[in-house]
Symmetry: C2
Subunit: 346 residues, 2 copies
Amino acid sequence: MKKPPKSRPKRVTLHDVAARARVSMVTASRALRRPEMVSLDLRDRVNAAARALAYVPNQLASALASRRTGRIGVIVPSLTNGVFNDYLRALHDVFVPADIQVLVLNSHYMPGREEKAILTMLGQFPEAIVLAGIEQTPHARKALQQAGIPVVQTMELAAKPIDINIGLSQQDAGYAAARHLFDLGHRHVGQISAPLDSRSLKRIDGYLQAVREFGATPMMVSVDLPSSIASGGELLGELLARWPSTTAIFCGNDNLALGALFECQRRGFGVPRDLSIVGFNDLEVAASACPSLSTIATPRYEMARRAGEIILEIIRGSGRRPKQRQIDLGFRLIARESTGELGNSS
Amino acid sequence: MKKPPKSRPKRVTLHDVAARARVSMVTASRALRRPEMVSLDLRDRVNAAARALAYVPNQLASALASRRTGRIGVIVPSLTNGVFNDYLRALHDVFVPADIQVLVLNSHYMPGREEKAILTMLGQFPEAIVLAGIEQTPHARKALQQAGIPVVQTMELAAKPIDINIGLSQQDAGYAAARHLFDLGHRHVGQISAPLDSRSLKRIDGYLQAVREFGATPMMVSVDLPSSIASGGELLGELLARWPSTTAIFCGNDNLALGALFECQRRGFGVPRDLSIVGFNDLEVAASACPSLSTIATPRYEMARRAGEIILEIIRGSGRRPKQRQIDLGFRLIARESTGELGNSS
DNA sequence: TTGAAAGCGCTACCAT
DNA sequence: ATGGTAGCGCTTTCAA
């Protein structure tokens, strides 16, 4: 009788359920969440009441009171380029069976948006957070540290990990890709990239290292926009316009490589006869394309799986961090049909 | 001095920020969330304090107290096939500026998992929910209705919408794709599909309608697995093995079409000389491929944008539903290079 | 413009 | 096994 009539439709709460079952709220709570702690009789009464009232637990309140949200946060720079498909799948494979929800936010390859995403995520109180990349803003780092939850940085190797770090050397991988072309005899090896995020830049460093080593000339075209198939064709066009002698090209990712391949087909260039192409990431399309694309396979599934398992271990187990805080998972060069020895081209 | 020392690392709360800024919690709250209600002086002090402490608002508490979560839920059947990229982007474009968070859950093209996703989502109290597809389980429908929030079903036209429905006729679109091939003179028109979700089946219905109309023979191969480029090649292989006379093929989506195209290149078939290919969705790759892929463009961005705007109107505005509860956005056949008139083949 | 107090719905802690 | 009570961190009246 004390409540003034509100216009908002009342929601059924645990209080209502408890009242109907004629037990205390605590018992009702336990009957629903930890049935083994409640006598069979009361348990049934509570369940019946909950059912009759179509009770929906308010996870917000539950999380606030228990300080456990049952979710982990993931921040990736893109959802649309295929790179993070395996990565997210691995995380789901680990967490869904553990009854932990995976929240994904997209930073769009922009440090500013990543910071915002991290703060937003932290506001949801995930029990751990997985980050793609290692270049968080100082403010984001601080917030992450204060959160006191496991933080796993992935995809790259960090000099100063925030907490745990599982990745690979993007520079070494870029070097390996370029080196593959030089090893095949190419000397006019171009490079195209988009976008110019930190990992791309490191792969470019690797390329430059190989260029230096083989005494070649750097030939690069790039654009700081989301990678796309179309831009692969366009960047290749620009590269060839500037350096017509190019006989091989290292594309910063497989989307660009696919676009470059299509552009070659459009121009009637043979691949690898007239131009060798190596991509990066080993997306599904790389193996399926015709010719199939040589590329660098990065262990994205494994990386995310390991991240997930370490997190699970920490939040379900002792709460203690593993002794090994940094893991290098390496990469693999996959030589397919799109790269070949320097032949009768020029 | 009254708190017993706890082991848990204290988190920075609004209380701490208020204390540091020497204002009340209420003022701190307002300074952060509704700055215009607070004097410039205090506003600055609060902001400075919040920044210095790396304060992260607890959205759980905020949502619990205000009964507004500031988020909307979206459930899509896949995150990996590119189809929902524009769709999600549109939703972000609408909601992020409105300061509403977009939560995305993946149903993996499985009604059971969609039901679970819907229930999970509802437990987070989104202020509205956007669904891809119209075939929710009865239980999910009921829960959705009881939630009392705007529900928008998209991608298809529903006979009995739950609430609001924005889509297109998948059957008509499938018919248009097949019809395009028949109109070019083809009579041996095959069809490949994967996965066999409700929309795929409707597109197949459209194909069958065209087949009937032209007195042709249905030639279909499909598999109920996630679509992939590789399966496009495999399904085409099976189709050709069974019906070698095939001169044209309607692929249930662009991934399959791309795979089919690569398979043709592998076999040395000319496209469209030996085989015409039409896809579905108009993903980025369709325009970039060589030859470019004819396909059906579905208005995914527009569909999601409209959904978002209607929701915004409802939850920000009067709370009243628009008069028009169902919108048909149609589709467009895009004839590119991969389809041509029946020539000197077979 | 600012603040005090009363919850939001639930769970943890401590009794019984 | 069951229940009372005190919050979780924030926003909302309502008063000053």
